[in-house]
Amino acid sequence: MNTLAVTSPRRRRVDSLARWALLAGVVLALAPLALVLLYVLKRGVGALSLSFFTTDPTGAFFGDQGGIKSAILGTIEIVALATAIAVPIGVTLAVYLNEIGRKSKLAMTVRYFVDVLTGVPSILFGLFIYIVFVVGGMLTGFAAWKGSAALALLMLPIVTRTSEVSLALVPDSLREAALALGAPRWRVILRVVLPTALPGLLTGGLLAVARASGETAPLLFTVLGAQATTFSLGAQMNSLPLQIFNDVREPNPQLVTRAWGAALTLIVMILLINLAARLAARRNHLR
């Protein structure tokens, strides 16, 4: 009987070896992330000041270069519109997939295309909008809403997939309870399934927002960029990724520093969104 209690020395050696290997793997995976964060912090923190957040880039060749106000507001505007497009469509698709289509051929096809969409490089969404709305057709020219459209395409598969997962987590017993109370299926979805899945839907939406906020490529072809703050979604607009992209290539060290400051701002914004997503998910878990 007591042979059960004794661990052989060899097994203990293998065990400790495996532990060290795992630890090394974790360090290897986290090191680049930590280095990026530290480096951005080191280069960018010097740029931060009140005026950095409250003034627009001046675009002047000499002297004061201004801050990144238009870039921050532009990112918020463009991503907000993209979210307003992608989330309703994505959640509706997810409701179809999980509540109605389920294993049907059409649902499986939709799922397949959503998966394909997930793997499409973001620059292609920009290119697509560029071809259709910027150089072709009637709606030529660069505009903020076209960037939103490109980002919405990017967000759509993320929102759809995460929403489908959170809808699948709603216990069937709740659907049964509502159906047995004589509720039509659409009311069951609207009044019971969606409210129960809400924290999960929120998490998915926020993750998609975080992902879209940092995208540069889809915006390059579609909103182009601007210096001044604008609230017109039909005009060209500044955004944080574009600001970083443009500034960091300039020979003026002031501008390079501003690029790092903008990068730091963007990282902090995305971290905050991710944090919010985690909190929403935690609420889901407690239920």
């Binding site: 049964e176 047995a180 109370l181 009311r187 409210p195």
Partner: protein, 267 residues
């Protein structure tokens, strides 16, 4: 059908009588698998009828055919007749949604809506049917009284239903069903997830409710059937073996398989 007109105590129904249910030649399928194989059975109005039988014999399937919940399972189908107060709920043009408002159901595991408050849970049925919340407060209060839960929750009506104990949650589900003002109550092993004390409370509740509803009670607990059921139906392998007054089924069963089951030889 017994129509007890004297309603001295408060009731949540105007008519206050249950509908009798007659099942005729009912077959129920999951894809090609026949789970109920031609069952004929009566559930008399204002009586408690227990359905007993070993696991997998089709009790739940039969009960779910009475409020047309069976067809909600993908691939499931049913044929035959279920007469609700002499109206066949499987005849053409009958809306399953309307059937479910007349035939309430309580499930094995308490399933209150976790995003709703206690009071909103009770009024969920009518609200899901489109009735406004303000018109329902009185009805909810009566349903909670009927379910014997009022005193325990009256100070926390707006709190989340998840904070209740298992037994309280099940009584909340019963209140939710009563607030729908149905005629028939289907209960599929309503006590099997509960402790003995909560079980006893729910049994008392069921007995109290039979004056106003027709009760169909699926149970694995034979002594529960003998305690509260007026009639008992024994099922085996998708078929109805024997049905009759509970005393007779347990004391002098006609069928040898019934005898073996009620004396604990199998199942």
């Amino acid at each position: 059908m017994s129509t007890s007109k004297t309603k001295s105590h408060q009731t949540s129904k105007a008519s206050g009588k249950g509908f009798g249910v007659k099942v005729r030649a009912l077959h129920a399928f999951y894809d090609d698998n026949e789970a109920v194989k031609g069952v004929d059975v009566d559930f008399p109005a204002n009586k408690i009828t227990a359905i007993i039988g070993p696991s997998g014999c089709g009790k739940s399937t039969l009960v779910r055919c009475i409020n047309r919940m069976h067809e909600e399972v993908p691939g499931a189908s049913a044929k035959g007749q279920v007469l609700l107060d002499d109206l066949d709920i499987y005849s053409l043009g009958i809306d399953p949604v309307a059937v479910r408002r007349t035939v309430g159901m309580v499930f094995q595991k308490p399933n209150p809506f976790p995003t709703m408050s206690i009071i909103d849970n009770v009024t969920a049925g009518p609200r899901l049917a489109g009735v406004k919340r303000d018109e329902l407060h009185e009805r909810a209060e009566r349903a909670l009284c009927d379910a014997g839960l009022w005193n325990e929750v009256k100070d926390r009506l707006n709190k989340n239903a998840g904070g209740l104990s298992g037994g309280q949650q099940q009584r909340l589900c019963i209140a939710r069903m009563i607030a729908l003002e149905p005629e028939v109550l289907l209960m599929d092993e309503p006590c099997s997830a509960l402790d003995p004390h909560s079980t006893l409370r729910i049994e008392e509740l069921i007995v109290k409710l039979k004056s106003r509803f027709t009760v169909v009670l699926v149970t694995h607990n034979l002594s529960q059937a003998t305690r509260i059921a007026d009639y008992t139906a024994f099922m085996l392998d998708g078929e109805l073996v024997e049905a009759g007054p509970t005393k007779r089924i347990f004391a002098t069963p006609k069928n040898i398989r019934t005898k073996e089951y009620v004396t604990g030889k199998f199942g």
